[in-house]
Structure formats: C-alpha cells, structure tokens
C-alpha cells in the first residue's frame, strides 16, 4: 500500500471512531477525547523528534510535561504582592549567591588542572555556595509560605493570559533540557534513559515540595481560561441566538412553552460543546504549526544530517558533524515541544496538581504512542497520539463492559465478580503493553513507518 494512502486511511479510521463515540456516548465526550488526542499528539511529536530523528532515549517525558504545567501557573496566576514585598530582598540575595556559586564552580572547572585538587575545590565551592544560598533562601521561603497559606502561600505568577504559558512552558522545558543535556548526553542510550528517568522524578519532587513556587501538593486550582466560560455563554444573547438558529429545525415543531424549555437545554448542552470546540481550535492550530515545522525540518538538510547521525554516529562524526552538539540541539527542541504539550494540558485541566504526574501515564504512554504510530515519521506520531489516547480512554468502559458480560453467569454479589469489575480499569495497562509488544515484534516501524528516501 502506498504510504500517503495508508496515512489517509489511518486518519479516516480515527475520525470514524470519534464519530461512533459521538453517536454512542455523546459529542461532548467525543470532543473531550479529541482535545486530549491533540495534546498527546504534540507530546508524541516531541518524543519523536528525540527518538525518531536522533535516536535519543528520553524516559523523562513526565518531567518536561510537568515543567509546562508549572509555567501555566507561573504565567497565569496573579502575583501575590505581599509575598513579594516580604521576601524580595532575600530572594534577590539567594539568586545572586546561587549565580555566584555556579560562576565560581565553572571558573574552578575551567581554570584548575584536572585532578584531586580541582575536585576538592569544586566540592568546597559548591557546598559553601549552596549553604550561603540557603541562608538567604530559607527565611525567604518561610516568609512567603506564611502569607495566607490556606489560600495562597506562594509567590504567584505574572498575571498574563494563560495562552502565553504555552510559549513560556516551551522555553522553561528547553532551558532545563539544556542543563540536563550538557551533563547526560555524552552517555550511551541505556544510561541516558536512566538519567532522564531520574531527572523527571526530581522535577516532580521539586514541584511537590517547593510550596513557595507552585503551592506543592496544595495544588493550584481555578487557572484562568483562554476560552469563554460556559456560564457566561449561557447568559449571553448572541449565543442563545446562535443556538436558536442552529436548532431552528427542531424548535419550530414545538409550541411556545416547550420551545423555551428545549432552547434552555440546547443552550446548556451547546455551551459546553462550544467551549470544547474553542479548545480544539487552539490545540489544533498549535499541533498543525508544530507538525508543519517538523515536516519541513525533517526533510531539510538538517533533518538528513540528524538521521545520518542516528543511523551511524561514527560515520557522521567522521564526516565532520558535531554529534554531541546536534544531540543537545534536538534534545532541547524535543523537550520544548513536550513542555508546550504539558502547558496545554494544564490549561485544559484548569488546575495544576503535581501528584497527578505518574510515569506510566506521562512517560511510558507517550512512548507507546511514538512506537505504535511509527517512530521517525511525524504523521505516525500524530496518529499514534490519537489512536493510543482513544484506546486508553475507551479501554476503561469497554473493559468494564467485557468483565460484566464475561462474568454474567456469576451471582451479582459474587466476590470474584465484584473484584473483577472493580479492577477492570487496570487491564488497560496490560493492553497497552500488549499493543506495544505486538507492534514492536510484527511491525517494528509502527503503523506508519518512516519513509526511506532513495537517492536517484
């Protein structure tokens, strides 16, 4: 089968599945799933850049997604003026100390000869510097956290529209990725995987515990939305008119009183679909923008170089390509895309809950998307993001239904039956693993394999 035909068929299948969900469950559910499909596709694109283009095994996707979520808080929340007033001096001191420590450490590293003396000097500088930083930081933190701890207790954000956080989240993730890449990218694939796994756990630990930054496990709820609220829509005249026009066919058949009733229901249902559609528009534009750039990049000489490095590092190095630098480059770009996805996700949720970041859902599921969709192929990653998210969500009701049917011959109160039905949702992890292994074994390129261009 020709590749573009295959792509079209695969996406048509996804569309059919969504339409079936729309009719069978509701359009509200279908749109909700589709929005998350779009976000998953963005994250999968980020992982695909690192793994598919360059062969870098990043098992820290969760950490970068969480950094994106954090920036949604930092951008959209209003600044807490009292907290800044109480602590800005000390915070400045801590920042200066920290910067000086880093500078001194770099200076020691560059100017001293390698050996025991340098190691000793470096350790001393870092320990002293961090201790000095903590002298400023500790009182600053306690003064920030003591201000209305039940309501705020953190520094707040910049008070900008939340949509800017998608850009900001990308930059934050990119910055952290640069620091990580500088240290970890010299390592071979196995070590890099373990190193990134560790970093993602550390990022989550920081977000959970540094209350002054993100309120930690107290969560930040009620983030401002980039789209209208349902309640405002229901009260606005233009929306009611829109709904009257949209449903005019069915409305004319009713009498006056029934019309009022029906219109009210239409407005309530319509408002939540309208909000979801707004999100869909925003997310889809981001996805299409990133996708276009990725397709361009992968087909450019730069993309060719990346693939050459992936397929044979030594040969590419011998041709004069700076392998480590290119790796750092793609690691930073891919992480930025994951960060954008993370910020979009937190925007959609409207809240930031550090405890909800779990590696199976935020790291390994994204990996399943990339492998199943087709690593090295941008459309494949998008397809994988759509398909795996659909399966992930729908496996729960389907699993419960299967268990109910399968154990139908047992008594209603049978302990085994109750246990099976209650735990059926966990079977989706099993199916995800199965899908990953089947694809890896029987179709290692994924559903839409990488297009290998031949030189003529």
């Amino acid at each position: 089968m020709n590749n573009s035909l295959r792509t079209q068929l695969a996406f048509a299948a996804i569309a059919v599945l969504l339409v079936i969900i729309g009719f069978a469950q509701s359009w509200n559910v279908a749109l909700g799933i589709f929005n998350l499909c779009l976000i998953s596709a963005v994250m999968a694109l980020g992982v695909n850049m690192q793994w598919g283009y360059a062969g870098l095994l990043n098992v820290g996707v969760m950490g970068f997604a969480a950094l994106g979520g954090m920036s949604a808080v930092l951008v959209s929340q209003a600044p807490i003026v009292e907290a800044w007033d109480a602590s800005w001096g000390r915070l400045l001191g801590a920042a200066v100390c920290f910067a000086l420590t880093i500078a001194a450490a770099i200076f020691c590293y560059r100017k001293l000869f390698p050996g025991r003396q340098r190691a000793l000097a470096l350790t001393l500088v870092i320990i002293l510097g961090l201790a000095l930083t903590r002298i400023f930081l500790d009182p600053a933190i306690s003064s920030i956290e003591s201000i209305e701890p039940a309501k705020t207790g953190f520094l707040g954000g910049m008070g900008l529209p939340i949509i800017f956080s998608w850009i900001f989240g990308g930059f934050v993730a990119a910055g952290i990725a640069w620091c990580i890449g500088k240290v970890a990218l010299g390592l071979r694939a196995d070590y890099l995987a373990i190193a990134t796994l560790g970093i993602s756990e550390i990022i989550i630990a920081v977000l959970k515990n540094e209350d002054w930054l993100t309120r930690g496990v107290k969560n930040v709820t009620g983030l401002a939305r980039p789209v209208p609220y349902e309640i405002d829509l229901q009260a606005s005249n233009w929306f009611i008119h829109l709904m009257r026009w949209w449903h005019s066919g069915s409305l004319t058949r009713l009498n006056e009183v029934e019309q009022q009733q029906a219109l009210k229901q239409f407005v309530i249902d319509g408002s939540s679909i309208f909000v979801k559609l707004c999100y869909t528009g925003l997310f889809a534009s981001v996805l299409i923008f990133i996708l276009l750039l990725s397709v361009k990049a992968l087909n450019s000489p730069w993309g060719r170089m990346m693939r050459a490095i992936r397929d044979n590092e030594i040969a590419a190095g011998a041709m004069g390509k700076d392998v480590t630098r290119r790796h750092l480059e793609i690691f930073v770009i891919g992480s930025a895309v994951i960060g954008i996805g993370g910020a979009m996700l937190t925007t959609l949720d409207g809240q930031f809950t550090p405890t909800s970041y779990q590696p199976l859902r935020y790291t390994f599921l994204i990996w399943v998307m990339v492998i199943v969709g087709g690593s090295g192929n941008n459309m494949g990653s998008v397809l994988g993001g759509f398909l795996i998210w659909l399966v992930w969500i729908e496996a729960e009701p389907v699993g419960v239904w299967l268990m109910q049917v399968g154990t139908g011959w047992l008594d209603e109160n049978n302990a085994v039956r109750i246990h099976l039905i209650a735990n059926a949702q966990h079977m989706r992890l099993f199916f995800m693993g199965l899908v990953l292994l089947l694809v890896l074994r029987f179709s290692p390129g994924g559903i839409l394999p990488e297009v290998v261009r031949k030189q003529h």
Binding site: G55, D190, L197, N423, F430, G433
Partner: protein, 340 residues
C-alpha cells in the same frame, strides 16, 4: 548528665535512625540491583520491568500469605510470608521464563540492539503492572504478622539506662540475614558450579563461550530463574519492612538502577556495594541531625534548625546525583563493571 552517656546516646540515636534502616534498605536495594545487573551482564539490556517483577512476586507471596493465614497456619514469631515465598518465587520464575520465550528470545535470535530490548521491557513493564493492579489493586496492602520487634526502644532504654532507645524491627533483622545468605549462595553458585562459570564466561565474552560449548539458552534460562528468586525475595522483604503498593515498586526502579550503575553494572559485587552506597546516602542526607548535636554539644551551642541537609522527599535526587557523579568521574562504576 555525664559526657559518656551523652556520647552513647548520640551513637544509639544514629544507630537507630541511620545505621539500622540504612542496612535494611541497602540490603533490599542490593538484592534488587543484583537482578538488574545479572540481566545486564548476560542479556545486555537495562530491564525496565524489574520493579514490576518485584511487585508481581510480592503480590503472589501476599496472596498465598493471606490464604495461609485464613487456614490458621503461621510461623510463630516469624512472618507467615516466609512460608509463602516459595510459591511467589515459582510463579515469578514462570512469569519471567514465559516473557523470555514470548518476547526477548525473538530479539536475541535476531541480534537486536540493546535499545530494542529496553523498549520491549517497557512493554513487559506495562503488562506486569496491569496484572498486578488488576489482581491486587493499586492500594497499600499489609501482610506482616508475627513478632514486630527484635529489640524494642523501651526495653533497650531500661536495659542500658540511656535516654535514647534502639529498636530493631524483625523485618529489618530478617532482611539483613536473608540478604547475607542469598548473596553467599549466589557467589558460591557463580564461582564454584559449572553453570555459574558458564554464566560468567558468557557474560565476559559471548562468542568465546559459545565456542567452548556453553549452551546460550540454558544460561539465559538460569539467569531469569536467579533474577526471579532475587526479585521476589527483595520485593517481599521491602513489603514486610515498609508496605506493599504497586506504584512504590515502580519508583524503586531508579534507586536500583543507580545502585547497579554506581557499583559497576554487570558486576555482582558492585551491585551490593552500590545498594548500600545509595541507601546510606539517602538516609544520611535526609536525616535531621538536631538531636545528635543536642547530645554532643554543650547547651549554649545547641543548634536552632533541624540540621537536615535535604527533606526526605528528595531522596530520589540523592540517588540520582550520586549516579551522575559516578558516571562523570568513573563511568565504569566503583567496582569496574562493563563500560556501556
């Protein structure tokens, strides 16, 4: 109080909160890291499914323990789980052998690159995790019974007359004893038996071992069996000492990897050293030393803060920082394992 008893109290305090928990946790990590390092040495990939293998073995042990308890069987002062361990080990061996036959063997015969094995192990991780959550649920399970303590803090205080007590949980004592016995057995097996020598030869130089008539399928089979034994016992001991929760076992993956790499991956002695290094650094860095210094320093110099270097929530960070430092300074690990 006299200076002598103050010093003794400080030492007991450190023993109670640093040394004993560190030894127990280190033994659990070492057993887990041994499994990872064996799989790496023989099959040459980092096994992401190892944490969930531990969870699976522990789950079977817990289920059998509950059944034994319901039958009124127990081991007196010892936890019933010890009686259930063989069942857990057997089923875990079955699980690992089946995954090898259905998943890894294909890639081995096709000489796939290590990264493919790693991604396959992610799939196995998902499936095992799904089974564990499906059967026993995602929540905390307790299955400890029998005597709780070897020494209670109060008894220790009355015995010695010190103001600080030392308590050693039975599970901690068991962990250390079982770990020593297991490690001794493992080294005897690797050094003295024909199979063990074949495994070491295979790990050292695959082609040469094959030429000398080593049966690769047998070596791999034995590796999985040993891994299953180690993983089940490590998981059960951890569950007895703390508690069983599938998610915690997934999180153990990082310190275990760190232990294996820090010690020198592929090197069994290194895995043990690494386990204790990681465990002790986690405990030492996250312990609040205020009370120790209260005993050691005169009243006028009493510290204000908790004197805690890092909050306990950052223990992952500790294992990770050590990992990075070792990778930068000495990439082969402390005991000179294989350079990846």
């Amino acid at each position: 109080m006299e200076a002598g008893t103050d010093l003794a109290s400080a030492v007991v305090l450190l023993l109670n909160f640093v040394v004993v928990p560190g030894l127990a946790y280190g033994s659990q990590l070492a057993l887990g890291a041994l499994g990872i390092t064996l799989v790496f040495g023989i099959l040459r990939f980092a096994n992401f499914a190892h944490g969930d293998t531990m969870a699976f073995g522990t789950m079977i042990t817990i289920l059998v323990t509950w059944w034994l308890q319901s039958q009124g069987v127990n081991l007196g002062p010892l936890p019933t789980a010890l009686l259930a361990l063989p069942a857990g080990i057997l089923l875990t061996i079955a699980l690992l052998v089946i995954t090898d036959k259905t998943v890894y063997r294909y890639y081995r015969h096709h000489k796939a690159v290590p990264v493919t094995f790693m991604i396959a192990s992610m799939g196995v991780m998902f499936m095992t995790n799904g089974i564990v959550r499906f059967v026993i649920g995602p929540n905390d399970q307790r299955f400890l019974d029998g005597e709780r303590f070897i020494i209670r803090a109060r008894d220790f205080k009355t015995m010695t007359g010190l103001s600080e007590g030392l308590s050693i949980k039975l599970s901690q004592g068991l962990t250390i004893v079982i770990a020593i016995v297991l490690v001794a057995l493992l080294f005897w097996f690797l050094q003295k038996t024909r199979m063990g020598k074949a495994m070491r030869a295979y790990s050292d130089n695959e082609d040469l071992a094959l030429l000398s008539g080593v049966d690769p399928d047998k070596v791999v089979l034995v590796t999985w069996i040993i891994t299953a034994i180690l993983a089940t016992i490590a998981g059960t001991l951890y569950g007895l000492d703390k508690s069983f929760k599938p998610f915690t076992y997934l999180q153990l993956l990082l310190p275990m990897f760190a232990a294996a790499i820090v010690g020198g991956i592929g090197n069994p002695i290194g895995a043990i050293v690494g386990g204790y290094v990681i465990a002790f650094s986690e405990v030492v860095v996250t312990y609040a030393y205020k009370k120790v210094f209260v005993y050691l320093l005169p009243v006028s110099m009493e510290p204000d803060g908790l004197l805690q270097l890092l909050s306990t929530d950052y223990k992952f960070a500790v294992s990770f920082v050590i990992l990075v430092l070792v990778l930068l300074v000495r990439p082969t690990g402390i005991m000179r394992g294989k350079l990846l």
